[in-house]
């Protein structure tokens, strides 16, 4: 309860800071509009204002402060503008029965989500297979593991455009191209976590399996895999967030089919800041839901498997 209050305080402080920041960020535009409407602005001429700092202009025109929160294309939209746009493009679209129209964030969110989940599934499978072979083969461990770690210092998102183009030339489906990038980002936490998890049974437990004359496969299925489950879920949480980032960035290069990344790009082309922010929030909400869903699965699974919580 106490921490809920603390979190709320931080969130309220952030929102307050955001509202406060709207004033200097949008004041130039506000002054311009007020001048056009024939209101009094200090200083009166546009060239003079252009060279003024945002804060000093804001302090000289306190009368304009009320207009900075409702501009059409603000430099920084106010939180309620973003919330309105978000609402209009999600629930508002459902109400009008156009949940999957091109202007609906639900459609774009769904496109991103499907690519994310595909890449996440591939990445998790690849990660588990790699981890199992690394744990069972010393040669794999020594030769592949250093490269897996090194692969993460490569800014892989940078090559997203190339992967997209190459896979498109091979006439692979778009969603697969996005999924490949998501996969690359999400397999790493799974490999690292699973290697740790598969090695987590202690010597006593391994000896016990030996006294039962268990084969390596039996040890894997009955001891190693079950005891790696907590590690797996911890990695999945990191992996799914990474996978979403991969999908969004892939959509920057593959924007013709929509998706949250495509909304970001379109918004940046046309200066639609409110649209950019609401797409960002949709991505954030998606990330939160995905991580939360894995958290729930984690709780249920671990409880049924009898791990102490």
């Amino acid at each position: 309860m106490k921490s809920v209050l603390a979190i709320l305080t931080v969130v309220v402080a952030l929102v307050g800071f955001w509202y406060a920041a709207c004033v200097p960020m949008n004041i130039h535009e506000a002054a311009m509009q007020a001048q056009r409407a024939g209101e009094e602005v200090t200083p009166a001429e546009a060239p003079e204002r252009r060279h003024m700092g945002r804060i000093s202009l804001a302090l000289k025109n306190t009368g304009l402060w009320s207009t900075v929160f409702s501009q059409e294309r603000p430099q920084l939209p106010a939180p309620h503008q973003v919330a309105q746009e978000f609402w209009k493009t999600t629930w508002g679209m459902i109400e009008r029965g156009r949940a999957f129209s091109k202007r609906s964030l639900i459609l774009h969110g769904w496109i991103t989500l499907s690519a994310t989940l595909l890449g996440f599934a591939f990445g998790t499978a690849l990660g588990i297979v790699l981890a199992v072979s690394i744990v069972h083969s010393r040669a794999m461990d020594m030769s592949v593991m250093p490269w897996i770690i090194a692969s993460q210092t490569v800014p892989i998102l940078a090559i997203a455009p190339m992967i997209v183009v190459v896979l498109a030339a091979l006439s692979v489906d778009d969603i697969v191209a996005k999924g490949v990038i998501s996969m690359y980002l999400s397999f790493f936490p799974v490999v690292v976590g699973m290697v740790k998890g598969l090695r987590s049974p202690d010597a006593m437990q391994m000896d016990q399996m030996k006294t039962w004359n268990a084969t390596r496969t039996e040890t894997l299925w009955k001891l190693r895999l079950p005891s790696s489950t907590p590690y797996l879920f911890a990695s999945l949480k990191v992996g799914v967030a990474a996978s979403l980032i991969g999908a969004v960035v892939a959509e920057l290069s593959l924007s013709s089919n929509g998706g949250l990344g495509a909304r970001l790009l379109a918004g940046s082309y046309y200066g639609q800041t409110v649209q950019i922010w609401s797409a960002l929030f949709a991505a954030a909400a998606l990330a939160a839901v995905l991580v939360w869903a894995i958290g729930v699965a984690q709780k249920v699974t671990l409880k049924r498997m009898g791990f102490a919580q």
Binding site: I7, T9, V10, A139, S143, L157, A158, V166, W277, L280
Partner: protein, 279 residues
């Protein structure tokens, strides 16, 4: 042409057999030789497959072609590197990480704020922050400043979370000891809690090296002057000059690893006392 395919496959089999044998040894050089041989195998198989099957260079250029482009285009690559890494990524990294640590120290005296900041910071660190790039490019223009701003936003929260965790890492017993020495809060911070936080701070710094490079490169997709690694990648992809793209990726890989290595080296020097560094 099939000779290339079979030759490379043969090399692969031989190298793998050698690696399996070597991995049973415990000599120190084996630890470097085995992964190096594996890396070489990948490159040779790649070269062999591309030549053997005559893969179109628009899809996948051979490593030799990439190396030739790399050597031939060093001035361009260097210019891009300076623009993206030294101006964009590095300055953003320094500002963002410093701000993260300073914020952590600022909220250090208030457990209330810490309890609020940790979950929020953890949440934000998991978000696709890189999506902020178009907004920040709009605010700060096409120059390196907007790339630095993206990097600042990207590294701030992971750094903050790690630093806050780190400042809580010292044990009650140790803090009590500082108390019996009549240490002021400032002294306690400088002499006990900041050093104790160093492993966590370095963890954050290492995570942020990759984020910084990613942020700077992706931000260039949204607009940049006519140089920079992200700019080069997106334009050369458009021209289907994939050897140049790969050359940029090689540069990014080298710089990314070197950056990470430098931070890891600093960690070794500064947190020499930590169990993970003594092994």
């Amino acid at each position: 042409m099939m000779a290339w395919v079979f030759g490379s496959l043969l090399f692969w089999a031989a190298a793998w057999a050698l690696n399996v044998r070597l991995s049973r040894l415990s000599a120190p050089w084996v630890r470097f030789f085995v992964p190096a041989l594996f890396g070489m195998t990948v490159i040779i198989v790649w070269e062999g497959m591309v030549r053997g099957f005559g893969v179109n260079p628009v899809l996948l250029p051979a490593p030799s072609a990439i190396a030739a482009t790399f050597v031939g285009e060093i001035p361009t690559l260097w210019g891009d590197l300076v623009q993206t890494f030294f101006k964009g990524a590095l300055s953003g990294y320094v500002i963002g990480c410093t701000a993260g640590v300073l914020t952590a120290i600022a909220v250090d005296r208030s457990p209330f704020l810490q309890r609020g900041l940790l979950p929020v910071g953890n949440f934000v660190a998991a978000l696709p922050i890189v999506g902020m790039a178009p907004i920040l490019v709009m605010w700060f223009g096409f120059g390196w400043q907007s790339k630095a701003a993206v990097v600042v936003v990207m590294v701030f929260f992971p750094m903050l979370v790690n630093a806050v965790e780190g400042l809580r890492a010292s044990e009650t017993m140790q803090r009590d000891l500082m108390h019996t020495y009549a240490a002021t809060p400032g002294q306690g911070l400088r002499k006990l809690r900041l050093p104790a936080a160093m492993p966590f701070i370095f963890n954050g710094l290492k995570i942020c090296t990759t984020l910084a490079l990613i942020g700077a490169i992706v931000a260039e997709f949204f607009g940049s002057p006519i140089k920079g690694m992200g700019f080069r990648i997106s334009t050369e992809v458009g021209r289907l000059a994939l050897d140049m793209v790969w050359a940029e990726i090689v540069v990014a890989a080298i710089v990314g690893s070197a950056f990470y290595g430098a931070v890891a080296l600093a960690e070794r020097v500064i947190t020499f006392w930590h169990p993970s560094q003594r092994g």
